[in-house]
Symmetry: C3
Subunit: 326 residues, 3 copies
Amino acid sequence: MLLDKEKRCKSEPGASLGYREEIPEITEAIIRSCEEPGSFTHINHEPIPSRQEVVSIVHALQKLIFPGYFSRESLDATNLRYKIGHSVSRLFDTMAQQIIHSLRHDCFRYDKPCSHCSDQGYETATKLFRAIPDLRRILATDVSAAYDGDPAASSHDEIIFSYPGIFAIAVHRVANILYKDEVPFIPRIMSEYAHSVTGIDIHPGATIGERFAIDHGTGVVIGETTRIGNNVRIYQGVTLGALSLPPDAGNRLKGKKRHPTIEDDVIIYSGTTILGGDTVIGTRSVIGGNVWLTESVPPDTLVVMEAPKLSYRASAQKGKTSHDFT
Amino acid sequence: MLLDKEKRCKSEPGASLGYREEIPEITEAIIRSCEEPGSFTHINHEPIPSRQEVVSIVHALQKLIFPGYFSRESLDATNLRYKIGHSVSRLFDTMAQQIIHSLRHDCFRYDKPCSHCSDQGYETATKLFRAIPDLRRILATDVSAAYDGDPAASSHDEIIFSYPGIFAIAVHRVANILYKDEVPFIPRIMSEYAHSVTGIDIHPGATIGERFAIDHGTGVVIGETTRIGNNVRIYQGVTLGALSLPPDAGNRLKGKKRHPTIEDDVIIYSGTTILGGDTVIGTRSVIGGNVWLTESVPPDTLVVMEAPKLSYRASAQKGKTSHDFT
Amino acid sequence: MLLDKEKRCKSEPGASLGYREEIPEITEAIIRSCEEPGSFTHINHEPIPSRQEVVSIVHALQKLIFPGYFSRESLDATNLRYKIGHSVSRLFDTMAQQIIHSLRHDCFRYDKPCSHCSDQGYETATKLFRAIPDLRRILATDVSAAYDGDPAASSHDEIIFSYPGIFAIAVHRVANILYKDEVPFIPRIMSEYAHSVTGIDIHPGATIGERFAIDHGTGVVIGETTRIGNNVRIYQGVTLGALSLPPDAGNRLKGKKRHPTIEDDVIIYSGTTILGGDTVIGTRSVIGGNVWLTESVPPDTLVVMEAPKLSYRASAQKGKTSHDFT
């Protein structure tokens, strides 16, 4: 049958010719659309930050922060100094260049006062690389916290190799350093890359203490002005967000504290939403799953949703007829 | 200790030999399994659509739609015409070829009447490329809407560089053009690629107006027959879905309106589920977070869930004993 | 204005020199941090499992399991035997090597008794490849189940090409074979890769029957000791998880049955959470959306959440003033 079908196939390979003649017109129409007011383009010869480069930087930093885990060649006592040195040396320039591109782009695009981008780029890159030993120490506390609270974790190495929560937190701790130095674009490109890989959306502005663990993680949202203390553990689908906004909120609320404060030793179970800049979850409190909270909770409190009433009916699928139970 | 351990290591590099002898038998067993009825294979010499090519097309179109943002080399007034022209010319053929492969595959596989795939492929590709200026205009409204409603957005450029919502909507607007031209496979490969990158699952059949904004986005599901007006804003975890289905629904309901209609200027907050083909959310209404809706809402209405009762108890973790609060 | 701005730009390209002098000090600080107790590094010359290799293996296995769907070159009756044979032969060694690396790493790192890693690696790889015909048969039932329950699916091929649920289940069925053979790291790297691509988080230890369908899938979590029967269908955001844990749970509960049992022919709608190792959902039962369940359900039962009370108010956005409804 297939051969028969093939014989009957009327497709003609020459069909493209007529259509290709439209390419110049199509091209001109796209170019004209770039000149329209309110259209978004990026047409000037200043270099811009490159998403692709920033993603490479994220993975190179991951290798520096967890030496030996993510390299194809093994790292040992004899080559450690050379490999780390080579890696720092190369990454340092790439990182500085991307920061400079971001600052220059911002400066030219929005006609800002001179940011002394060249100096600032190297200054911030230096600050970031100097912070690596401390980042390593803090991330070791995060790995330990992930292990201590998860019966499914079989070793610390398994967590570093494969847990999305650790990747998201590592990227956040890097992005937050750049955010605090007011680098445009790059912190958010980094955090949205981690969001894409993990489903965990942490705004680079969020302040997060040590021993922070996120289990499973898909659907987690942590807003820009959130403050999280030490030894906090959250599960998939937890939102730490802002209250509903007036229609012009985009402009009016920029920079204000809009997201909650979570004190030390708090656990928040899956699917829970906590909203508002004045909302404080007191130390050692536990918030159960699926809770919707817009007010503060004192320390040492357990908050759970009263189980919603369930309705049980027989014979759900027996008759194989349509059922509408929603 | 490590060296000692190494000395004790009994691993023998020659172990593979005996096992490799099984390769022919393993190969034959896989080949036999390809001949079984009901088994899924794709063994004939007709080309099939390539997921990898379709993903490349998505990124190439992203560069055409937002010129200068995602290229490594900068775009300026002197090279704009050449770069856009070169890009259109190359993409045009790739796009047409993939459409032709999809149509031929469908035609041969399901013994359909001749789809004149060669002509149809170039016809649809032409339609798509001609639509780019209009896509650019509509996506500019989406970018503006994202900016206007989000205090965490620091510039329009940041949104284009990094917001998953904009990527998902851009891919949807392209996939929807191919869906309406009844191109098999490709629209869904595109939308599932965007789903994979963003956690936002928009069926290519959904009809979506201008100034559409999705914030955070992970877990959003928008079904095939959903209709969304202009200036609608939704948050993470919103489902616009179908009511529960009878067991044989797969066949019986294909093509029917199964998903809701959202009129202009509606806002839907995080975690809300709206179901059913007859459900209409009236213009300017606001649906709060975590709402479960299966009926229509008139215009200018605010619908919120009555806060579920919370139970507060002291000393959640003080004694460090097991607690069961679920 | 742009040119003017450029003229005023004070950025100096020589700025890097002073900063680069700090590279040796930065390098030494990172190396010192690798020697600190409690720090995580992987510095010895034993090879470790490579995440990148494991991801390549996943995609190569996908091509073997669904022949012809994911290759650039087409597969036909004349080249099938050579291509499958070549692919098995190459993959066999790569898979065995990665298993050997994982076993050796585990053995050296945690000073375990000899695992006879070389033999064990080839033994397990052989077992996995021998299982492919059966995996193909079971995955064909999964594809059919996905098609039968989804009015938006236009063909079985579309499901194989693009549905995240099928990818996640295919990867799970492979990872589960390695998990049952107690291969360290690799099963979890595979399942977390699928999680990253699909938003569906299935622990490799979960036991899952035939005709398993996951629709949309983002946010699904299926825990390590879950047991799922045949012909079960679940939707996005469903968690099959553990009850809340005491603080030292990580160690105490390892290996215990902590996650629910779902019997044959059950459907679980979106956003539902089912928790606990003793919780059993009886055969043919249907669990509605957004349900929170911590107890067993008898067979043939329909469980739905009583719709939470909604509050309707007029004029949500009319006055364009701030509204706080949370």
